[in-house]
Amino acid sequence: MEEVIRLENVKKYYEVRSGLLGSKILKALDGVTLSIRKRETVAVVGESGCGKSTLGRVSLRLLDVTAGKVVFKDQDISRMKEEELRAKGFRKKMQIIFQDPYSSLNPFMRIGDIVAEPLEIHGYRKEEIREAVYRALEDVKLVPPEEFVNRYPHELSGGQRQRVNIARALVLGPEYIVADEPVSMIDASSRAEILLLLKSIRDSREMGVLYITHDIATARYVSERIAVMYLGEIAETGLTASVLKTPIHPYTILLLNSVPEPDPANRRKKRPVIRGEPPSPLNPPSGCKFHTRCPVATERCRIEKPALIEYLPGHFVACHRALEIMSGAVSVT
């Protein structure tokens, strides 16, 4: 199937001032390779600070790339300037849906104007704009559209605002969308609605979606593939079903174990946890970055960085002990 976006060994470093004169390098992304095809959703899962949001913004070129390539439909956009991205139409073809439905909409603009803005910027005619705005609002089930166009964001619920965000992202007919935690700030009872909506729109418009989340359970329902990130690197990636059914990387296994399910028996036992906290990305551990928290880390893990290797069809893991874990010789939990 046709590939929409490809990241090749992408690195994003920041210079961070520390102390009076010194500065350190913060490696937000440290060599990430990933591609997304048409009508495919790839979920990027990880804890805060793992670089998943940076990944999304770099792929859209909202941030500059330190090294590596960002390729949109065979065109390398990694070094393009803002004006060029706009002029060559890339800003029309790639969009983002934000996490916070409250701060992502300009409170001074009407819903209709918010959705129309991308079209205005790209020089559409008035009649075209009106029609496209109505169609986009209908697509996200804000119906009838005429009831919404003149309202202000504060008059809508969180779920409705998030649909406005989706409509705004859709209105230019993008081929690639980054959804950055689109449901984490919405009431639980409305989350599934937004996720299902995203999925059906992706199918009807044949887009590629990068779904960024900390909630691995939601990834299960919307994505075909999953990439688990830890400290700016991909620890494990593969088909969603495969990763969830046979997780191999100790981090993935522990992450899956720490997700609670509503079960009254929970209170009689302790939740399985990953010990400690993620190390500072300013001072990442040597070797495998997870070794400081890994229950099965060996001397080798402290020294040698594991490569991302395909252990099952389409299922890649960066762990020295992957084979032992798969065979059951070593238990993570």
Binding site: D187, S189, S190, R191, E193, P260, I274
Partner: protein, 320 residues
């Protein structure tokens, strides 16, 4: 007497530009000694207002319209505020506020912030207070030397531990936790929840755990109280509310909307939006979103029906 806390007919309204918002509308329940009660609801259900009322910390535009709250048999809403603060705040009932970990004073050592109420409210000497604060820091699983750290030197999880230590420093019997983990990653969330479990057992606390997450509630709660639109819609033991079929359609749909890692169920959603508490719908407040709605629901407000041993639900499906 076995009740640590009893709430009777509590109504708390806010005055806003839109009119009177009935944030808590006729809520009655009790919390037994050593019991953990989860108060579950989405934004606007009145769960946070309920917590603030119990520690007498409502904002200025809120007023308690009616109701009584008994702690250890004494009515506390009729006490003067200074009386309540002197005798109850911190030492009998305390609360971990939502987002408190982000509102620690950035220029004070965290240990001093823990010790503060001991000195100003408990009359302890500096040395005593410092020793006690260090004990608390150890109790929440951090090294004693963390007394001298500043908030910015700590991670989110560590700050949350400090906030919990603060709430426990005067040895209260009742602890209210308002979304203590909502800003944390799952892996850290699990650590904090385990800590809270430990503390409940070690200190035999009575706990009111306010959350929007039923799965999280199941981790701690003996009983679960589901709130919707300022009212209790279902209250019962965790086994009954989560284990057997829930008795209120809202609870049922809320459970069904949780995405699961295991099993084949696909998460559902509840169409529509929560009621506007300035002008709630007539009849049952959930009726515009309820899949089982019938005529009576639209006109008459259901009372809480008894649906089992210690289990009530506000739904006409269980009444005549």
């Amino acid at each position: 007497m076995n009740e640590a806390l009893t709430v009777e007919g509590l109504k708390v309204y806010y005055r806003t530009e839109k009119g009177t918002v009935r944030a808590v509308d006729d809520v009655s329940f009790s919390l037994a000694r050593g019991e953990s009660l989860a108060v579950v609801g989405e934004s606007g259900s009145g769960k946070s207002t309920l917590g603030l009322t119990l520690i007498r910390a409502l904002p200025a535009n809120a007023s308690i319209v009616s109701g009584r709250v008994y702690i250890n048999g004494e009515e506390i809403l009729s006490l003067s505020l200074s009386d309540f603060r002197r005798r109850y705040s911190w030492r009998v009932i305390s609360m971990v506020f939502q987002g408190a970990m982000n509102s620690l004073n950035p220029v004070l050592k965290v240990g001093d912030q823990i010790a503060e109420p001991l000195i100003y409210n408990g009359g302890a000497s500096r040395g005593e207070a410092q020793r006690r604060a260090m004990d608390m820091i150890e109790l929440v699983g951090l090294p004693r030397e963390f007394y001298y750290r500043y908030p910015h030197e700590l991670s989110g999880g560590m700050r949350q531990r400090i906030v919990i230590a603060m709430s426990l420093v005067m040895n209260p019997r009742i602890l209210i936790l308002d979304e203590p983990t909502s800003a944390l990653d799952v892996t850290i969330q699990a650590q904090i929840i385990n800590l809270v479990k430990d503390l409940i057992e070690k200190l035999s606390l009575s706990v009111m755990f306010i959350t929007h997450d039923l799965a999280l509630a199941s981790d701690i709660a003996d009983r679960i109280m589901v709130m919707y639109g300022g009212q209790i819609v279902e209250l019962g033991s965790a086994e009954r509310v989560l284990g057997e079929a829930p008795k209120h359609p809202y609870t049922e749909k809320l459970l069904a909307s949780i995405p699961r890692l295991r099993g084949e169920t696909i998460p559902e959603f509840i169409p529509g939006r929560p009621p506007d508490l300035a002008s709630p719908p007539p009849g049952c407040r959930f009726h515009p979103r309820c899949p089982y709605v019938f005529d009576k629901c639209r006109s008459e407000e259901p009372p809480l029906f008894k649906v089992g041993e210690g289990h009530v639900a506000r739904c006409w499906l269980h009444g005549e």
